[in-house]
Symmetry: C2
Amino acid sequence: MASEHKVIPSVSLYLNAACDLPKEIEKAAKSNCSSVTVPIVHWNFNREFVREPLRSKHVQFTRSDLLLSSSQWAHKVISRIGDNLDLDSPIDHIRKQSERTIRQEMSFAEHLLQTGYLYTRLTKANCTNFARTVGCALARGTLLVEVPLSNPKLTQNSWRRDIGEEEQEVENPWHWWNNFRMHADGNAVLKVALELTADMPAQDEIYRWLGEPIDAIVLSSNIFLTNANNYPVLPKAHQLLVNRLFRTFGCHFILKANPNNGHIGNYVDYIRHTIQQNYTRDPAQGYEDYLQIPLQPLYDNLDSVTYEVFENDPVKYILYQNAIEQALFDRVPEEERETKTSIIMVVGGGRGPLVRAALNASKTTKCKVKVYVIEKNPNAIVTLTAHINELWLDGKVELISTDMREFNPPEKADILVSELLGSFGDNELSPECLDGAQKHLKENGISIPCQSTSYINPVFASKVYNQARTAERNIHSKDRIISSRHMEQVYVAYQKNSYHIDDPQELFQFVHPNKDTDPIDNSRYKTIQFRASIDCVMNGFTGYFDTVLYKDITLSIHPFTHTKGLLSWFSMFIPLTEPVQLKKGDAIMLHFWRCVATHKVWYEWCISEPVKTHVHNFDGRGHPIWQ
Amino acid sequence: MASEHKVIPSVSLYLNAACDLPKEIEKAAKSNCSSVTVPIVHWNFNREFVREPLRSKHVQFTRSDLLLSSSQWAHKVISRIGDNLDLDSPIDHIRKQSERTIRQEMSFAEHLLQTGYLYTRLTKANCTNFARTVGCALARGTLLVEVPLSNPKLTQNSWRRDIGEEEQEVENPWHWWNNFRMHADGNAVLKVALELTADMPAQDEIYRWLGEPIDAIVLSSNIFLTNANNYPVLPKAHQLLVNRLFRTFGCHFILKANPNNGHIGNYVDYIRHTIQQNYTRDPAQGYEDYLQIPLQPLYDNLDSVTYEVFENDPVKYILYQNAIEQALFDRVPEEERETKTSIIMVVGGGRGPLVRAALNASKTTKCKVKVYVIEKNPNAIVTLTAHINELWLDGKVELISTDMREFNPPEKADILVSELLGSFGDNELSPECLDGAQKHLKENGISIPCQSTSYINPVFASKVYNQARTAERNIHSKDRIISSRHMEQVYVAYQKNSYHIDDPQELFQFVHPNKDTDPIDNSRYKTIQFRASIDCVMNGFTGYFDTVLYKDITLSIHPFTHTKGLLSWFSMFIPLTEPVQLKKGDAIMLHFWRCVATHKVWYEWCISEPVKTHVHNFDGRGHPIWQ
């Protein structure tokens, strides 16, 4: 598939050392590498903190910052810190010397860069002091943390006959990163530089990485093969993974190859080629993993921009039109089509897309219709009135300017059409609205939609979670504050950077018209059990919905049944105030409530397995939906 | 042992129902019961929420509030809510009816009482919706939650031959309470009414309750025995437990007995008798589980009240005097006692208790001394100068008014005496101070103390934890806020309401004089492994210290070696921002740092097993100790 837009992934050349930094940058640029990844401190300089003379005076411990301009330091160099240090050594003086060394490197890095890239490497699970010294301390820029995709020991052991299969149980490097990240309290400055290894782990282990903040892919020349033309290529599985990671994260590349072999350019060309060949532009590009507060169209009036975005959905109104057509066919026998007028009520008309769908359906089915459009937003009424005066001139459309829960139409409807659904189905209060409006529907009348269902699954999604987590904090404050105002809120987001821990399950369902005996009770409570198939962390839930417009015409954002091309809804993200660490096989018992009071509706949630959490959003304190 | 002070534990009579409430209160009072525990809603009144006529109008659903004065409602009645309700029924309409019923009861309770007692009962582990509806909702007063000490099923099963030992695994009711409490986010309004059962659980399970907020002991007449005089008495094990709980919590009693058997008074008399007979006044009474911010005497000047409290310790200065005596004996051969003058330096003299100890030691040993007293607090210098002018007239005492880290005495000391120790040993910066002062000590001089060691163990302590947890919150705010300012702070508290999950282990040790090569590094890092012997929750750590004054003369607040009568130090409480739920057998891996910078010293801590927590108090953000 040819790419529609040219993307050029950037590649940084990883050097063990750089004697002449400007020259190395120049050389790398000739091979299309946009930067070099080098140790921040030149090995030629001695460093000593305990003994004289270096203990009591500051000396030059690395190359001068004047070698490069500050823009070059920021864009042409990824500064490596902590090479060959062990901050978790059991030997006290090694640990202390490592702490002093890396602190000096971090301090120099802050001197050089304000928002640039640092780079370091994890080699073991026991990294608590490393996480504390480095992971907690950095407050700006980005620290790339190199983690191998599979444990190097695994490869070594597989060559050794003396080690049986049962002894092969080695730590998965994801745990190294997870420990580092947890101890560092999920500091948003920390990103993963995932180093692909010759061994490719199981699918589940790869998926688990998709929830992590991956920023770079590290490719070593030794995982490349050579093709018939003697050019380096990646094995098929690695190719697929690289492209999947690039699509999810838009990450850049770090290339580990001998700079003197003369073929660096070939590796870079290959990386560019494989990315460009597999790239297709995401129509929702720009929205990835960006938290949004769900709309409350019942409480707030939508603005023109929002209406326009939704009206531009390529499939939604076509499916609405199809549903109305089907309903008209079913209600009006062929012989009555020219005589019988069907009453269609559009509740929540906005700027008129559903009216248009109804009028189109009337035209294609040759059924006569009268359309009442009910709308409460005075700004949208301007548009609707203009349409009636300028476009819909045949008097078929009548505007009723009021709240749909209170209006009093002159006649009852054959078909009630609405689009009150949010990303979680009922979260824009369609049940409350339609229960109020359904008294204007004829006994055997049809509601489009006639059913909506929400779905939910546990998730680990570092980027959206971090946004919620840091919403409360002043960036200059050192305080750690977790408050219900942001952590017990339901969000909407186009979630790409997420690991779905288990398949979605059905949560709540609402049917329209609602035939329950009065008073209708739209509160709900359900418990759902999920299971973790692998050690992982859960920091929230993803929510979806689907809806039956009419018979087999549906709209869905459920990942397994997603309506092709549908763009109007992103999924929900429902955070937990604290991440929960799960073991393989753990049951996750979710409790979810939909609560209804006079003036508001809200969700509450908690888990009771494998640990018990507090009830989130109690009494709607974090996120009430106003009626 | 006779009681020094008369304590009269209050007893409330538990009634299944009360037809004539004022009469029942009067009747109970005749048996020395100070109140009655009754259902808040009278069973005679119908309640219905779904069907007419009660659905749409409010009717009288219980007895009138005018039956009693508001003071009587508050002090003579414990109002029971939720009798015979199941808020976690899998059957939707039972659950919903239960929710409506208990909400009505809670609303009426709020109408009657502002800060009085409510009472409810847990009967199973599955209580998530109960916790949400009741446990999260109450914001004032106290809700007593009745929990049996052992599962009633256990007793039932032990009588049935068809149930083998292996089938006896029933839920421990502590889990019921734990689930309820966790889901309710540790709401401080919730207290335990622990119902003693005929079965007495294992010691560990009893200890676990000591960390919970127990407010009442429920005694049912059927666990009493009858003594030779036909009076009710408790079995020995129950007697011991009742007295232990009373000593820890000062709790009151709820008596479940048939009010018509005419012997209620005998039960009440017995309860009063056993408590009074076993009661001894705690010399630290009034300080129980009350969080205090540790003193920073190096940074702040102590006030007169604080000096007085510490000077009144009945054993501390006697032991200091003994240590100085021993040191003088060792340094001065018998034949030189009348000629040789030993130089004693008291660093941090305060109002002079150590000077007094030194002078006393001189007198008892007949060794000549010269005492330099160094003090930086200008207010204490007033006292010291007065003592020199009025009491210590022989010129043996010389005052040096300065910071001990900077002073310059005319001669070197034989003995350096200080009392710079905090509850955690080094937390008042004795290492930093003494390292500075030791240059004034002769080569073979003696430091008193010569060593201090801190100890730590994991703990669950609901009362102190809740104080830290709610310190940030405005009581009228519904927001849930957890911030580093209070949760990453080290506290001092007289901890009675606590469950010690494992034995204390040694943390950091400091030796004086410090012979380490310059520069002395007083930073420390240690990892310690503990183990949970039972399912439980950990919400922090308790810290202690001991110190060697000289040779075998020590001071200790370590629970296993606590110096008899020592009152000067309570233990430390070091919270975790989130409680950690532990399973029996879980390893707990604690990481603890002592960090030193130019102007401050601070501790950091985290755990890496069984879950990973963030590093607490990073960079001293929650609690710096200023140098």
